[in-house]
């Protein structure tokens, strides 16, 4: 009897936990339900015990009532059945299909004894679940590049697959941002321009602005050389400047539809804020899983041995060569980890004079690193200034190549710097005597910092040039109107050039370096792919979705790459990519906010010609609200609200940090308690209510054949059939 009930146990723990288990469960449950321990209910081990408890108890209740049927038990039975039916869907049981079929038949027979309401509830929840599943199945077909990424996973493992699903996430993010900008800004303009709707542009003449500020000289010499179009395409000037790609195109104050006037400056600003907020939320949501796991663990290093050994093998690998590589990488990784342990122990045993020597050496080397960084930043600064000053020369005075060189000088210097500095950093870090894992992390951190900081330097240089005037004051228009009549467009052009140059370099390296190298030297590390990954974000330009994004790296990967001996794990690399993206986003937001709030918007082009700064649109819009709403908004943005709000947020954060610390301590205490209980039970013999090691060992082999799925289902059916038939009979009398 217990065997048959045990055979239908959820999650099939038939035999590992014999029926003695119930008393120990009651002990555990009372321990866990005392008030100070309530927050322990969040621990996964408690939840698994709780799940077992509800199902085991309900099962036994059910078997009891089925054996001795009386009417007074029928309500209890109903409760038991609903609890049992609601606990898990039938798929989650660890049984084979024929047993699940029988279980489902039993459940259906028992369902007849439920009330009409419960039956209908059950039926509707089932149909809803089926509908949701079908919908999910259909939407999974819409997933972009699903088959390609699956085949990559089969050939190269989950680490590289995570890189490609990250790329797919970036493409989707870009697409959504493009849609936001298109709907909010472009669509009204296109509708009016091509006369699809009966609307017109609203142009408010600017008052009390010096006429000099609104002059925007479009250089058009008599003869246009044929290659000027090519240069325009590469540098974003000329005909490209008047397309919707750049800020200057939107020199309109509004679009007047039949019933309302669409405020274009407000829409432009709000769309920028919207897509930045959306990107931030989406990236944070995606990275929450990685952070959560990091926080729960009490160990310092990210990768534990349990994870590497039990979840070390990618079961989806189907390729013999990839399997060999995986074996090799596991060998390497585990040996490296043990090596790192030894080095860490060695470090802990250092004498004080050795420590002093190491630290002074590290200080010196860090100064060298800072000097290298400063040199690169200065080079970029000078290159940008040189490029900006010489860009204005007439085309016919220059040779074709020289012109392009000057235009692309900042991009070239940035790329060179990003190429040279990782090599320098890799050399330096050898002397700093860190453990191997930390070495790799620090090198990557330095390279990533380098990449992001170079763009910051570029933007800062441009910013300083825009707001500084040499011989005359900037008070006329607020910015250097002589050199930068439309400075937003010009900053956008620099970003555009950076993007184009990046694209050219990626194509060139893939075609001219990777493919030939594969023929000559057939090994190429996949870690280099990761270093090319960090994306750059421009400010002030439109973003067009780069569908070139995935097919090119995939081609490159499949035809040229043989994965390196040191593989990276899916979870680790996911976390890393998203972290880099998050830092990049935050760094991109800073110059954007400064330029929106501080630097006066250009008066010669753009939708903000009538405002002092870009941000001024918002106060002007708020002043058109009804007075109650206005006072509410003013109250929310005043210091009287902001300071207490900030303090409350800090308090909440401290509360959660304290809670997390308390959880960690409790976990440690529970572990100690558990080992103490085991030890004392072992020394005293069997303890009532606890399953001891000995009883488990004695019982387990007997039941051992039960949970091994090789156990024949043949001798079980008769018992189950009997149970299926007995309920009706037993309920009749």
């Amino acid at each position: 009897m217990s065997e048959s009930s045990a055979s239908a146990l959820p999650a099939g723990r038939r035999g590992r936990q014999p029926f003695v288990h119930q008393d120990s469960l009651s002990l555990d449950s009372s321990y866990f339900s005392s008030p100070p321990m309530n927050f322990l209910q969040e621990l996964p081990s408690y939840r698994s015990i709780a799940r077992k408890r509800t199902t085991i108890l309900s099962r036994d209740k059910q078997s009891d009532t089925l054996l001795k049927p009386t009417d007074s038990y029928s309500s209890q039975l109903e409760g038991g059945i609903t609890e049992n039916l609601n606990s898990q869907s039938i798929r989650k049981y660890a049984l084979n299909i024929s047993e699940k079929r029988r279980l489902r038949d039993i459940q259906e027979t028992q369902m007849k004894y439920l009330s009409e309401w419960d039956q209908w509830k059950r039926y509707s929840s089932n149909s809803w679940k089926r509908f949701v599943e079908k919908a999910r199945e259909m939407t999974s077909h819409l997933e972009l590049w699903r088959e390609d990424i699956r085949s990559i996973e089969g050939k190269f493992g989950t680490g590289i697959q995570s890189y490609f699903s990250f790329l797919r996430f970036l493409v989707l993010l870009n697409l959504v941002i493009f849609l936001i900008i298109f709907m909010l800004v472009l669509l009204p303009m296109l509708l009016t321009k091509y006369k699809i709707t009966n609307s017109s542009f609203v142009l408010i003449p600017s008052k009390d602005i010096d006429i000099q500020c609104t002059v925007y000289p479009i250089s058009s010499s008599g003869l246009i050389y044929f290659y000027s179009y090519f240069i325009d395409l590469l540098s974003g000037t000329g005909f490209l400047e008047e397309t919707c790609l750049f800020y200057g195109h939107y020199t309109i104050d509004g679009v007047k539809f039949q019933t309302f006037t669409y405020d274009l400056p407000l829409a432009y600003l709000l769309s920028t804020i919207a897509y930045l907020a959306l990107s931030l939320l989406w990236i944070v949501k995606r990275s929450v899983e990685g952070f959560k796991i990091n926080l729960i663990r009490s160990e310092e290093h990210f990768q534990s041995y349990c994870n590497k050994i039990f979840a070390g093998w990618d079961f989806c690998i189907t390729n013999r060569s990839m399997a060999d590589l995986k074996h090799g990488s596991l060998r390497y990784e585990l040996r490296a980890d043990l090596e790192e342990e030894r080095i860490r122990q060695k470090i802990a045993e250092r004498t004080s004079e050795e420590t002093l020597r190491i630290y002074s050496l590290r200080l010196f080397l860090n100064c060298i690193v800072l000097a290298v960084l400063a040199a690169c930043f200065y080079a970029i600064y000078r290159a940008t200034i040189f490029s900006q000053e010489h860009m204005k020369k007439e085309i016919d005075k220059m040779v074709f190549g020289e012109n392009l060189l000057i235009l692309y000088l900042p991009s070239i210097v940035i790329t060179l710097a990003n190429f040279v500095t990782p090599m320098i950093f890799a050399k330096i870090i050898h002397y700093e005597d860190y453990s191997p894992g930390f070495e790799i992390r620090l090198t990557i951190l330095r390279c990533v910092f380098m990449r992001l900081a170079t763009i910051c330097v570029l933007v800062f240089t441009l910013g300083s040039k825009i707001t500084s005037c040499d011989n005359y004051s900037c008070e006329l228009c607020g910015y250097n109107q002589k050199l930068y009549p439309c400075w937003e467009t010009q900053v956008g052009q620099e970003m555009y050039k950076l993007m184009i140059f990046d694209l050219i370099i990626i194509l060139a390296v893939t075609l001219f370096v990777d493919f030939p190298r594969k023929k000559v030297i057939p090994v190429h590390t996949a870690t280099e792919m990761r270093e090319r990954a960090p994306p750059r974000r421009g400010s002030g330009t439109h973003r067009s979705s780069l569908f070139l994004c995935v097919p090119l790296p995939q081609m490159s990967l499949i035809y040229t790459c043989t994965p390196s001996p040191r593989q990276f794990r899916a979870s680790n690399s996911n976390f890393f990519f998203l972290l880099v993206l998050l830092i990049g986003l935050c760094l991109a937001i800073i110059p954007l906010t400064i330029s929106m709030a501080r630097i006066p918007s250009s008066k010669a082009c753009g939708p903000f010609t009538n405002f002092n700064t870009t941000w001024e649109v918002i106060p002007k819009t708020v002043s058109t609200f009804p007075s109650s709403l206005q006072s509410l908004v003013h109250g929310l943005t005043s210091e009287a609200f902001a300071v207490p709000f900030f303090m409350i947020i800090c308090l909440i954060m401290f509360y959660f940090i304290a809670l997390a610390g308390a959880h960690k301590r409790v976990v440690v205490q529970l572990r100690e308690q558990l080992s103490l209980v085991r030890k004392s039970s072992r020394s005293r013999g069997s303890w009532p209510g606890t399953v001891t090691q000995d009883t488990e060992r004695k019982v387990a082999p007997v039941r051992g054949s039960g949970w091994n799925a090789a156990a024949p289902s043949h001798h079980r059916p008769p018992k189950l059939c009997l149970r299926a038939q007995s309920p009706p009979a037993s309920f009749i009398h």
Partner: protein, 219 residues
């Protein structure tokens, strides 16, 4: 073509295989009886629905496994009665290079052979949509080499040997790794992992769900 009782069933929705006709959306048309293969004909609609309800597999995956099964099963048998040997299942492309394929076969087979439903059950556990508790349950069974209900040091050493697949393995490396794993996940200090301890460790492991899945079954 011989007359067999399956052809004369009333609930058979499909047409016998000798006729090349148009297949309905739910069933896929198969060719004639192949050389040395199972009788190939379409799966019943009701069976397909039932398998979808009882497993985590999608319709396409079930049909794909049906295809693969038919290619391998012995000639002249109805697919529901045919069985595959453990060697045949071990040599499927999905399991061919897996170091734990013998354990997988032992856990999922009944009486040393695989029926079609056993293969489906195996694919369901390894599918992407399967819930973590199910995967953890079967992972525990797979990793318990000596089948005593616990993952003890012997099992751990065997797992490590299979993972590393190398001839020169020092004893120190094995004992080191084993002791590290046990120190991380053995909560009651009895030198082996019970199911709850294993479950707890896998709940914290970020890579487990990603690595414990197979989605290529032959098509």
């Amino acid at each position: 073509m011989e007359c067999r009782s399956p052809w004369q069933r009333d609930d058979l929705v499909s047409q016998p295989v000798s006729r090349r006709g148009q297949g309905s959306a739910a069933n896929r048309e198969k060719g004639g009886v192949g050389m040395g293969q199972c009788l190939r004909y379409q799966m019943h609609w009701e069976d397909l629905e039932e398998y979808q309800a009882l497993t985590f597999l999608t319709r396409n995956e079930i049909l794909c496994i049906h295809d693969t099964f038919l290619k391998l099963c012995p000639p002249g048998k109805y697919y529901k009665e045919a069985t595959l040997t453990m060697d045949q299942v071990s040599s499927l492309p999905a399991l061919r290079v897996n170091p734990f394929r013998d354990r997988i076969c032992r856990v999922f087979a009944h009486n040393g052979v695989f029926s079609f439903e056993d293969v489906l059950g195996m694919a369901s556990v390894f599918s992407e949509q399967a819930c973590p508790s199910l995967k953890i349950e079967y992972a525990f069974r797979i990793y318990d080499f000596n089948e005593n209900g616990f993952i003890d040091e012997e099992d751990l050493q065997e797992i490590i040997l299979r993972l590393l697949n190398s001839d020169d393995m020092s004893e120190d490396l094995l004992t080191d790794l084993t002791s590290h794993v046990l120190s991380e996940s053995d909560l009651d200090n009895d030198n082996m992992l019970s199911f709850s301890e294993f479950e707890h460790a896998m709940a914290k492991s970020p890579d487990f769900m990603n690595s414990f899945r197979i989605h290529f079954w032959g098509c």
